[in-house]
């Protein structure tokens, strides 16, 4: 389940900050996302930051496994291929389930599904959040009021409850649909954070200059404001990805996962349903959970590393 919902980024911390610098968005449970871009030295420090490099390496390793793995195993991870309830062995690297399905095959296919959900969900939520945030922050006034109201409503809504209802009524659910739904509900914190950043940036001189030269609003946002928030947006995406993965896993476990195919969360669901814990079949439920934890954790660590790269104050001497 996602822990990626931040505290209000525009509030109390603002007073002790120097004017002009937007307050950092705090994501309880994960990170403080600062909005100070330091691009020149970024690459230099990025390569040397252990957290960033380490986290990225882990993510890429899993991604590679997700992309390449399914090519080496049978097409249908749900097929009954071997003797049931076997511990890991030479033939079945992660053993088999109570029905004799290949756990490793399920694992790599599930990994793929997980990445898919993460990317699509993060993209949707990110784009949605940014559009709302930019518009609200840039336009201000009535537009801002309405958008903020909408954001707050979606924010307060207990997402799991809503998703329960929606998913329960849907006849067919696949990974893509799941990703879309997750994306549609994960954007509020992004909108808030982007709005706060936009507010602080839009009163800067270079924006005034762009306005004076008659540039259209969309162009101003894309060429003046967004690049200054690039580092911030990047980190937002990373957090969104982690959140989407966690969320999807939670839905899967309740039984609201994809009706076809397999995912890491579904593996956990099946393991629970068929008493893998009681039967001591650790190879069934430990790998998927471990994979989720590792990937999401790697993303969070990457985020901390990125924060250090972009915000010199946090770097260790």
């Amino acid at each position: 389940m996602t822990t990626v919902n931040p505290a209000d980024p525009t509030e109390p911390a603002a007073s002790s900050m120097p004017p002009g610098e937007p307050p950092p968005a705090t994501v309880p449970g994960v990170a403080t996302v600062h909005g100070v871009p330091v691009r020149r030295e970024a690459l230099y420090f990025a390569r040397r930051n252990k957290k960033l490099v380490g986290g990225l390496a882990v993510v890429l390793a899993f991604l590679a496994l997700a992309l390449v793995g399914p090519l080496f195993v049978a097409d249908d991870p749900l097929a009954y291929v071997g003797p049931p309830a076997q511990p890991p062995s030479g033939t079945y690297w992660l053993g088999t389930t109570t029905f004799g399905q290949d756990v490793f095959a399920q694992f790599v296919h599930g990994l793929r599904a997980t990445f898919l959900v993460g990317i699509v969900g993060a993209l949707i939520a990110g784009v949605l959040g940014m559009v709302v945030g930019f518009t609200a922050g840039y336009r201000g006034g009535a537009v801002d009021e309405i958008l903020t109201m909408v954001t707050n409503v979606v924010l307060v809504l207990p997402v799991l409850a809503v998703l329960m209802i929606i998913a329960a009524y849907l006849q067919v659910r696949n990974v893509a649909v799941q990703a879309v739904i997750i994306g549609l509900f994960s954007w509020p914190w992004v909108a808030r954070a982007v709005r706060a950043q936009t507010f602080s940036l839009r009163s800067r001189e270079f924006v005034d200059l762009a306005k004076l030269s008659g540039a259209p609003v969309r162009r101003i946002i894309f060429t003046e404001i967004a690049p200054n928030m690039a580092s911030y947006l990047f980190m937002v995406f990373i957090l969104l990805f982690g959140g989407a993965v966690l969320f999807a896993a939670t839905l899967d476990v309740i039984g609201l996962g994809p009706t076809d195919g397999i995912s890491l969360g579904l593996m956990l669901n099946h393991a629970k349903q068929w008493s893998a814990m009681n039967l001591g079949m650790w190879w069934w439920f430990i790998p998927p959970g471990l994979a989720i934890t590792t990937v999401v954790g790697a993303f969070y660590i990457m985020n901390v590393g990125l924060d250090e790269v972009f915000n010199p104050k946090l770097r260790e001497m």
């Binding site: 109390p12 007073s15 002790s16 120097p18 770097r315 001497m317």
Partner: protein, 316 residues
């Protein structure tokens, strides 16, 4: 009180090496003297001000001593310095506008601060009220949150707090930079008033605004690239500056009442050297119109006239 700084060196540690922000600075401040400390951004003046009271986490005391009334100030030792802070040496910082805790009423914060220094608030309460009157703040301000005060009011509040225990030395770092002209005047007058009423013995006023120190200070010290360039009484330094940098600084100032139809304001071409790896010898050498062969050797900061110090071979 007497302050004596001898060969003080403070560096900033960075990932690319040590930035030699203060590289061997020596001067003295006499009792009841208001010394103006001027220089461009990066000259080291704020570092100097900070190192006299509290080094921040990146600063390192690399050498030299500071003596206050005959006692050496343990500036490198954060704990030992605590007994001097607030009571003997105090500061009105550059960030005075945001120096007050935003979620505490001002009066309560002052009380907690004072009590934490083992002083009973009741004993300073009357004095606090008097100071508020002195700077023109309503006593009700103690019952407000910093949010409710204007920039100028917060500045004056911080001035009151910092001088509450009658420090021997007050460091005023860029106190007027963010203010409008009339408030600047009020603040400057208040500061001088503190000295005149013996609430503060001596003061170091750090600023890049030469005209401000001309109004306020008894002596003016000019800093350049981590070293002192010149120090003299205000009138002296303005009428007969001996260091080429000071001369150029002063001629770069517009004069009131003079029209610049025919004459152009002269600036100083070039930029100060990097303090990460400064060049040997006089640091102003590259921009100095009077530079000659000997300038590759660092000129000492010596007396070139009565109470007039300069670091220039040509000035001697």
């Amino acid at each position: 009180m007497t302050l004596s700084v001898s060969d003080l060196a403070v560096h900033y540690r960075t990932t690319r090496g040590d930035v030699r922000a203060l590289d061997g600075v020596s001067f003295g401040v006499a009792d009841r003297e208001i010394m103006g400390l001027v220089g461009e951004s990066g000259s080291g003046k704020t570092t100097l001000g900070k190192s006299l009271i509290r080094l921040d986490s990146r600063m390192r005391h690399v050498g030299g001593t500071v003596t206050l009334d005959g006692r050496e100030l343990p500036i490198g030792d954060d704990r030992a310095m605590n007994s001097f802070r607030f009571a003997e040496v105090s500061i009105v910082p550059q960030y005075a506008m945001s120096a007050l805790n935003p979620t505490r009423k001002i009066g309560r914060m002052v009380r907690e601060l004072v009590e934490s220094r083992k002083i009973r608030f009741a004993s300073v309460r009357a004095e606090l009220d008097r100071r508020l009157d002195l700077v023109g703040l309503d006593r009700a301000v103690l019952d407000r949150y910093p949010l409710e005060l204007s920039g100028g009011m917060k500045q004056r509040m911080v001035m009151v707090i910092s001088t509450l225990l009658n420090p021997a030395l007050l460091i005023a770092d860029e106190v007027t930079s963010a203010l409008d002209v009339s408030t600047q005047r009020a603040v400057a007058q208040a500061l001088v008033g503190f000295r005149d009423h013996d609430l503060v013995r001596s003061m170091i006023v750090i600023t890049h605004d030469f005209s401000l120190v001309y109004q306020m200070a008894d002596t003016i010290t000019v800093m350049y690239a981590g070293r002192l360039a010149e120090k003299a009484a205000t009138e002296t330094i303005v009428t007969t500056p001996r260091h080429p940098y000071t001369q150029q600084l002063i001629s770069a100032l517009p004069e009131v009442g003079v029209r610049y139809g025919g004459k152009r304001l002269s600036g100083i071409p070039g930029t100060p050297p990097s303090l990460l790896d400064p060049p040997p010898g006089c640091r102003f050498r590259d921009r100095c119109p009077l530079a000659f062969a000997k300038c590759v050797e660092e000129p000492p900061f010596v007396e070139v006239g009565p109470d007039h110090f300069a670091a220039c071979w040509k000035a001697q």
